[in-house]
Amino acid sequence: MTDTHCPYCALQCAMSVTQGKVSPREFPTNRGGLCQKGWTSAELLSSPARLTTPLVRRDGALHPATWDEALDLVAAKLRELRAEHGPDAVGVFGGGGLTNEKSYLLGKFARVALGTSQIDYNGRFCMSSAAAAGTKAFGLDRGMPFPVTDLDHADAVLLVGGNPAETMPPFVQHLKGAELIVVDPRRTATAELATLHLAPAPGTDLALALGLLHCAVADGHLDQDYLDERTNGFADAWRIAASWWPERVERVTGVPVADQRAAVRILAEAENAYVLTGRGTEQHASGADTVSAWINLALALGLPGRRGSGYGCLTGQGNGQGGREHGQKADQLPGYRKIDDPAARAYIQDVWGVDDLPGPGRSAYELLDALGQPDGPKALLVFGSNLVVSAPRSQHVVDRLGALDLLVVCDLVLSETAAIADVVLPITQWAEESGTMTNLEGRILLRQAAQRAPEGVRSDLEVLQGLATRLGQPVERFPVEPEVVFEELRVASKGGLADYSGVTYDRLRAGEALHWPVVEKSTPRVFLDRFAHPDGRARFIPVDHRGPAEAPDADYPLQATTGRVLQHYQSGAQTRLVKELVDAEPEAYVEVHPDTATRAGLREGELGAVVSRRGRTVARVRCVPSMRLDVVFLPFHFAGEGRANLLTNPALDPTSRMPEFKVCAVRLESV
C-alpha cells in the first residue's frame, strides 16, 4: 500500500493505492472523502488506451517508433529550426497538472537547452487573473494564504464564481458551518447549498463587487481601524465604487438591491468571514480587475491577514499553485521570481551555471496564435495539456497547430492534441512516478510512486533529459530522479517569494505539513503580521466595471458561459476514458431555459447547435428552469464538435493575459 494523492484537482485528496486499487485516506483537506473521479482514478493505470510506445507521423499517419528514433528525430528537427530561425522558433507549452519537479525542469529546459523565451502553460487559462490580483494587493500570490481547515470555523463565506460541489466535492465539508453566499449566474449544485445566491448576468461580476463595496461603506460596515493600520489606497478605490450605488448595480447585474445589502451584512456581522474566488469570476478579459474588486471588498471589511478570516482563490488544476511558481510561465523564473528582474536572473543563471537567459515570452494564447506565423514558433513541445479541447477559439488553435513544422506531445493517452502531433511520447502518470504537488492551500505534498509503469513508457523528466543531451547539454544538468530535481529546485527557489528551500522529501515523508514559504518553518498563514509589499501593507487597487468584451446583439442574442461537471476533469482526456464517468456524463450538453429552447425550436434531449462568431458546437439540450433566459451553459470537457471552446472568445485580460472563457455572444439553433 502506498500513500499518495488524487491525480485530479487542486484539493489533492489523500488516498492510498494498493495493487492498482484506490481507497480514500484521512487528511485535513479531504477528511477521508473522495468524489467519483478520485474513486475511479486508478482505472487509467491499466487502461487499454494507454500509450506504450512513441509514435511518429509518416505519410499522414502515426506509426510506432523506438524512443531513440523519436527523440533523435525531434532533436534534429529542433536544431534545424533553431539554426534557420533562431531559438524562439521553438515553443514549449506546459500544464498546471505537472509536478513541481517537472514544471521546474521544463522551464529550465526551455531557457537553457532550447534557449527560447517562448514558454507558457495552461495555468494562464486558469489561475492567472487571481495570481495577478493577489500579487497587486498583497505583494504575493498564494491562492489560499491559510489552511483549508481554517474555513471550518468560518461563520460566513462569500464564494464567487466557484462550484466546488462539482469541481472539488470533498472541499464542501469545510463550508458546512458557515452561512454561504454564492455568486454565480447559474443555480449550480453549490448555489443550492447557499443561504443566499446572487446571480449576476455573465460578465457583470465586477459591477457587483463594486456595489458590495458601496454597500459596505453606506451601511456602516467599513473597518476603519484595519484600513488605517494595514492598507493603502482606499480613497481611490472608493471614488469609483461611490458611483456604483446598489440600484445602479442592480440594473447592470440583475442582482436585487436587498440581496446585495444582505450579502454584505452577513459578511460584516460574522465573527469569521472569508471571500473566495474561482474561475467563474476570473476567466474574463477584465478578470484581474474583477478579482481586485473582490479583494477590495475583503479589505474594506478587514478580512485578509487576520486569523479566522481572509481572502483566497480556489486553485483549479492539481498543481495549479506549484505550477505557477517555478518557471514554466512566460514571465517567471523559479521561486516566483520575475524574469525581468536583473537580480533574479543573475541568481538563477548562477544556479543553472549559464551566462544568460532569454527574457519574457508570449502568454499562452498569444503563443498559440503565433504558431507557424512568420515571427512565431515553428515547433511546439506540449507537456500536460490538451490544447485542442481546452484552449479558447479552439478551431483557430487547431489551425495554428497545423501550421507548425513540428508538434511534439507528451501524454499518457492519445489525447485530441496528441492525435494531430508529429511525434507523440508516451509518459508515466501519477501512481508510476514520484513528485511533489502544491495544493490549493500552498501545502507541498509528496506523491510517491506506487507501482511500476508499463513497459515502453518514460517520465517527463526522462524525456527532458533525452532531448537536452541530444541538444548538447551535459547530462547532469537535467536529472531524471525527482528528488534530485527537487534538491535543485530548493536552491533555485531560495530567497524567492515561493521559497521551498526548507522543504525536503524526508520531511514530507515524515508527514510534516509544510506550507510555503518554508525557509525552515512552515508558513500556514502568510499575512498575519504583514503583507508582502515593502511597507507591509495591502493595497486597494482602483478598478472600474467594463463589461464583457463581446456584447450580445441581434445575430448572437444569448450569452454562453462554460464550466465543469463533477465527473470530468479539464479537457476530459483522462476522465472520458473511465467507463463509470462516461456512463454518468457521456456527452456534450447545453443547459438552457425551457423557453429559450422552445424559441429555438428545440426540446429537451434533442441535439442543438450553439453558434458564436468563432464556431459552432453541437450539444444535447437540457432544459433547466433556473437558467436565465439569455444564457446558455456548456461544460468544456468534451471533444470533437461538442467542444465548448469552439465558441469562446480569446479577448485577453491586459494584465493576466487570461482569455474570456466565461462569456461570449451566441445563438441557439436546431441542428
Binding site: G33, Q36, P169, A242, W245, V255, P552, D595
Partner: protein, 481 residues
C-alpha cells in the same frame, strides 16, 4: 495644436465629460479642457445626496473627484465663479472680469429647484425664507442635516422620487415627516393610482405621513404649512422637492434656441454647432431627463466628438428605469404603465397585496416588457428590469416572473416519492435505485451502503438522505435475507 474645450458646469454631467475626455486623451494631446464651476467645492455625486440626508454617506464620501484631480488630469478647473455671458461671435465666455476662449463649448449647467408659488416660501429678495431648504445641492443637504435633529417635525413639499427619498432619509434620522403632494397619489408620473397607494402605505409604516391632493397655500415660519383645505402641517423645516427647471438662461441670452431645455440634436449640438449641451439642461427629442444615466451617455458622445475619437458617435436616447433609493422600500418603475388590465392592445398583469406592501404590474407587447411597476418584490424588480433593458421576450411563466421568489419553495420529496433514477449522492452519482438494490442485497446501514455504492463518501452532504432511505426501507419493505 490642441483645441480648447470649455465646459460650463461642474456637476455630474460636466465632471463626467471631463473624465471621459481624459480617458480618450489622457495626456491632453488633442484637447485642453477648462471646467467652470459655480459651487466652491469639487464635483459631487448628486444621486447620493439622499444617502447624505439619510446619514449613510458623509459629504466627503460623495465627492466625484479628489482635490488634486484637476492637476493630475491636465484640467484647468475654476471654481466658485459663475459664467456671466457667452460671446458666440468672439467665441469666449465671461467669468467675472476674465474671458475664457473656446473652440468647443459644452453647456452642462444642470437644473435648479422649482419653488411652488406658496406664499412665504421666498423672502423679499427671491431667496428661500429661513426654515425653507431646497433639496438639490450638497450645501442644501448640510442645511437639512443641520436642522433635522430627532423629533423635529419636517414637511416635504413634493411626493415625487426625490421628495420621497428625502422623506425616507429624514424619517430614518428620527424626524417626524409629512409629505405634502398636490396630486392624489405619489409619483404620479411613474406610478398608477394603485401602486401609489401601496407605496404610501409602505412609507407610512416607516413613520411618514401624507397629505395628498393638497396644495400648500402659506408658509408659517417656525410653525409649518397652511394647506388649501384649511388644515395645517406642523414643520420646523420645510424641504422643497417639487421638481426642477433646466438652467437655460445663459444659452437663451446668447441667442441659442431653448424650449424647456437647451435644444440639442443627436450629436448634442445646440442651434450653434460649436456649442453642445448635456445633462439636465439639455432637451433631446422633447425630453429633458433630469437623470444621471442620460447625462453620462451624453457625456461619452460629446467626448467622442470633441476629441475626434469617434466622429460618428451619436446619442439616441436612454431607456429610463426609475428606482427609488430608500431603505426598506423596493420600488422599480419602467416604461409605460398607464394602461388598464383590459387594454386590448397589451397584455397586462396586475398583482395587489397592500397588506404586505406588494404591488406588481406588468405590461407586455409582442411578448416583451414595455412597462412595469414592481413594489415590494425585490427579485422580480431586478429580473423584470433586465428583461426590459435587454429587450428579451418574457418567460412564458408570467406568474413566476411577476412574483419572483414569493412562490412557495417546492417541498422536498420524501424517500418514498423519489423516483428510482433520482441522484442521491451527487459526488459519486449514486441513485436511489442503486441504494435500494444495495439494501436488498444486505447493506442495511448507512456505512455498509457507503461501502457498497460509495454514497456519502464524497462531501458527506447526502448522509441524511441516505439515512432517510434506509429508515424508509426498514419500515416499508420486507427485510433482506
Amino acid at each position: 495644436m490642441t483645441r480648447n474645450v470649455v465646459i460650463v458646469g461642474y456637476g455630474m454631467a460636466g465632471a463626467r465629460l471631463a473624465d471621459e475626455i481624459r480617458r480618450r486623451d489622457p495626456r491632453a494631446e488633442r484637447v485642453s479642457v477648462t471646467v467652470l464651476g459655480d459651487e466652491a467645492h469639487p464635483a459631487y455625486n448628486r444621486v447620493l445626496l439622499s444617502s447624505v440626508v439619510a446619514g449613510s454617506l458623509s459629504p466627503e464620501a460623495v465627492r466625484l473627484h479628489d482635490a488634486d484631480w484637476a492637476a493630475k488630469h491636465h484640467v484647468d478647473l475654476r471654481l466658485g465663479g459663475g459664467v456671466s455671458k457667452i460671446d458666440r461671435t468672439r467665441r469666449v465666455v465671461h467669468v467675472g472680469d476674465t474671458e475664457v476662449p473656446y473652440d468647443s463649448l459644452v453647456l452642462a449647467t444642470g437644473a435648479r429647484s422649482w419653488v411652488p408659488p406658496t406664499e412665504g416660501l421666498l423672502d423679499g429678495n427671491g431667496d428661500l425664507a429661513p426654515g425653507v431648504v431646497a433639496f438639490r445641492s450638497l450645501d442644501d443637504c448640510a442645511r437639512i442635516v443641520n436642522a433635522a435633529s430627532p423629533g423635529t417635525p419636517v414637511a416635504v413639499l413634493g411626493g415625487g422620487l426625490l421628495g420621497l427619498e428625502a422623506a425616507r432619509g429624514l424619517a430614518g434620522r428620527g424626524c417626524l415627516v409629512t409629505v405634502v403632494h398636490p396630486v392624489g397619489h405619489l409619483m404620479e408620473r411613474q406610478l398608477d393610482r394603485g401602486a401609489g397607494r401601496v407605496l404610501a402605505k409602505t412609507l407610512e409604516s416607516l413613520g411618514i405621513e401624507f397629505r395628498l391632493g393638497a396644495l400648500a397655500s402659506k408658509y408659517l415660519p417656525g410653525d409649518g404649512l397652511l394647506l388649501d383645505d384649511g388644515t395645517q402641517v406642523p414643520a420646523e423645516l420645510v424641504v422643497v422637492s417639487a421638481g426642477v427647471r433646466a438652467e437655460t438662461g445663459l444659452a437663451a441670452e446668447a441667442g441659442i434656441a431653448v424650449d424647456r431645455g437647451i435644444l440639442v440634436d443627436d450629436a448634442l449640438r445646440t442651434s450653434d454647432p460649436r456649442v453642445h449641451a448635456i445633462g439636465d439642461c439639455a432637451q433631446h427629442v422633447g425630453t429633458v431627463s433630469g437623470l444621471v444615466q442620460p447625462a453620462w451617455e451624453q457625456a461619452a458622445v460629446v467626448a467622442d466628438l470633441v476629441t475626434g475619437t469617434a466622429p460618428a458617435s451619436r446619442y439616441s436616447g436612454t431607456t429610463v428605469v426609475t428606482r427609488l433609493k430608500a431603505r426598506d422600500v423596493d420600488l422599480a418603475a419602467l416604461g409605460d404603465v398607464h394602461c388598464e388590465v383590459d387594454d386590448p392592445d397589451a397584455e397586462v398583469l396586475c398583482f395587489q397585496d397592500p397588506a404586505r406592501g406588494r404591488y406588481a404590474k406588468l405590461v407586455l407587447r409582442d411578448d416583451k416588457v414595455t412597462g412595469a411597476i414592481v413594489l415590494g418584490a425585490p427579485d422580480a424588480a431586478a429580473a423584470i428590469t433586465q428583461l426590459f433593458d435587454r429587450g428579451l421576450p418574457a418567460p412564458t411563466d408570467r406568474l413566476a416572473l411577476l412574483l419572483g421568489r414569493a412562490l412557495p419553495a417546492e417541498n422536498e420529496a420524501s424517500p418514498a416519492d423519489l423516483p428510482a433514477s433520482a441522484v442521491v449522492c451527487r459526488c459519486n452519482t449514486v441513485s436511489k435505485g442503486q441504494i435500494v438494490s444495495a439494501w436488498r442485497a444486505g447493506a442495511t446501514t448507512v456505512s455498509s451502503i457507503a461501502e457498497k455504492t460509495r454514497a456519502s463518501t464524497g462531501c458527506g452532504g447526502c448522509k441524511d438522505a441516505v439515512c432517510g432511505i434506509v429508515d424508509w426501507l426498514a419500515a416499508s419493505q420486507p427485510q433482506p435475507v
